[in-house]
């Protein structure tokens, strides 16, 4: 059934810390390794050792340079942004599916593809603005992040290992897993504390995953940085009285 289930109180998802992510791609590699052999695998590649290797990965790590105007002049900050399925609360990838292969689990909100029902029309990949779904030409079906549903409930694993492979592999602990529907869970508290945000909320699909923005610089040099925070726009330096303008300039130095 591709009609969405009633919203569940439990919303399993990831929180990704853009402050500590170093862009090492360990999450992407660990994900590929687990899911190639896990319950939802294999994840075959095309031309894996040739000149143009190509294949399905559930996790892609983008690296950006963010140019900021600070009080100390222009500065570039590197931000690594891992991109994977956000397990949206109202995902269009599920409702557009003509076969019922794409579905959202009613009890924990994980979005999955039933490989036995998927006809490979790829409409769900078109419907997802986050690029969470990649089609396997080898298998003829759509593939996506499973939130390692074959690990997180796997009682043959040590309880410490019952988390997604990407979370377990991250060397800087930039990835956190938990229930974002429970305001008292550790990751919900983390999101509240660090002002975690959702990617492109304007589409209205209500992503569950949250991203934690880079922390402000310890030396305070972000003050005056280009930003959407009201602090900046509220202060019109030209309207300050002479003494304060001098003070502002001195402090901004």
């Amino acid at each position: 059934m591709t009609s969405l289930p009633n919203p569940s109180p439990k919303k399993l998802g990831l929180v990704i810390d853009l402050d500590t992510c170093v862009g090492c791609h360990a999450c992407a590699v660990a994900c590929k390794e687990w899911n190639d052999g896990g319950d939802f695998g294999p994840l075959p590649d095309v031309d894996p050792y040739g000149a143009e290797p190509n294949g399905v990965w559930f996790n892609r790590v983008h690296s950006y340079a963010v140019e900021q105007d600070t009080a100390r002049g222009k500065r570039e900050m590197t931000v690594h942004c891992p991109r994977s399925c956000l397990h949206c609360e109202t995902p269009a990838c599920v409702t557009v599916c003509p076969t019922g292969a794409s579905y959202k689990r009613a009890d924990d909100g994980i979005v999955l593809v039933d490989e036995d029902k998927c006809i490979g029309c790829q409409l769900c990949a078109w419907a997802c603005p986050y690029g969470a779904r990649e089609f396997s030409f080898e298998r003829g079906t759509m593939q996506k992040c499973t939130l390692c549903v074959d690990r997180i409930y796997n009682e043959t694993l040590d309880p410490a290992d019952r988390k997604p492979a990407c979370v377990a592999a991250c060397p800087t602990r930039a990835r956190h897993f938990g229930d974002l529907g429970d305001p008292d869970s550790d990751i919900s508290k983390l999101v509240a504390e660090r002002d975690g945000y959702a990617l492109m909320p304007e589409f209205g699909y209500k992503p569950v995953n949250r991203y934690l923005p880079p922390r402000p610089r310890r030396d305070g040099s972000d003050v005056g940085a280009t930003s959407n925070t009201p602090r900046d726009t509220a202060l019109d330096r030209d309207k300050l009285p002479g003494v304060l303008r001098w003070l502002d300039r001195a402090l901004s130095r």
Partner: protein
Amino acid sequence: MRPTFSIIFFTVASGTGYGIWFLLGLGLAVYWPTCAAPGPKGPEGVSLRLCTYPLLIDYMLAAGFVLVTTGLLSSLGHLGKPRRAWRALSQWRSSWLSREGVAALLTYLPAIGVVLPTITGWWQTRTLSPTDAFTPWFSFEALRPIGVALALGALVTVYCTAHIYSSLKPIRAWHNRYVTPAYLLFALYGGLLWLWALSTLPSGFIAVATRTFETHATHAALAITAAACALLKFFYWRDIDRTPPISAGRATGLDALGTVRTFEQPHTEENYLTHEMGFVLARAHSRRLRAIALLSAFLAPALIAGAAALLPFASNILAWPALAFGMLGLLVERWLFFAEAKHAVIGYYQH
């Protein structure tokens, strides 16, 4: 979005086929019952009429059937698992693709409803008199509801096809108010092109007499619809040119911190997303291709229809180049519809 031939052919061919069936359904519901010459009463007491241009019904049924069916089969070629295609009929509650499949299959029913009396001679005057045996007669009361069902089925199917695209918010060139009217109007336009060509075949209205009301009406309808299509496309292009692409800063939410540019891509080779959704060829040549689409799809057939209106005796020859230009132009237009559309995910890959 990468223009895949199977889908371009599907939307153009099936759209046109449904356009022909829409016109046929409309004809069976409105035109044939009123234009047919009154006749005697049949043995069952149903009043029968001599059918005008009976073969045109067969031509339109057959052309529609070939176009709709090859289009639908072509769309299966896009699937990773075509043998499971039947599963696509199950999720009509939420999915426009599923609704389209259901509507497409249901529309075959009234089409068969028209075929059956034609091939079984059900509407022919078998028992009126021996000399009338091969004259097609028309029991319009019976065919009116079938015509209405055929026209409605065609309309609903094309509406569903259009909504598959216009409901996809991440592709802003598709999630656009002009997309659904354009699909419907282009289907009607393709149907009119075929109607003109088919009516030049033996026992079609142009083949019988070129100075008929039907001939003039076809020329006029074609020219007017072509102008409406071209206007719609013009406004559509103006609209999509005004929507800026999604930047990396907006896609990641990092624009709150400053100006974002890509420092390193996540992979060195192409992947499914960049291959399928990062198509750039069309944008380099879009002006020229848009001009070709407008000229070939709409302007050329409209001018040819104008020429045919002035030179009615040439209408039976002019119909065919108009059809060729029109269909080729519609294929270019549909290619551009895909090639010019940009997917939101490409924002993450933006430099």
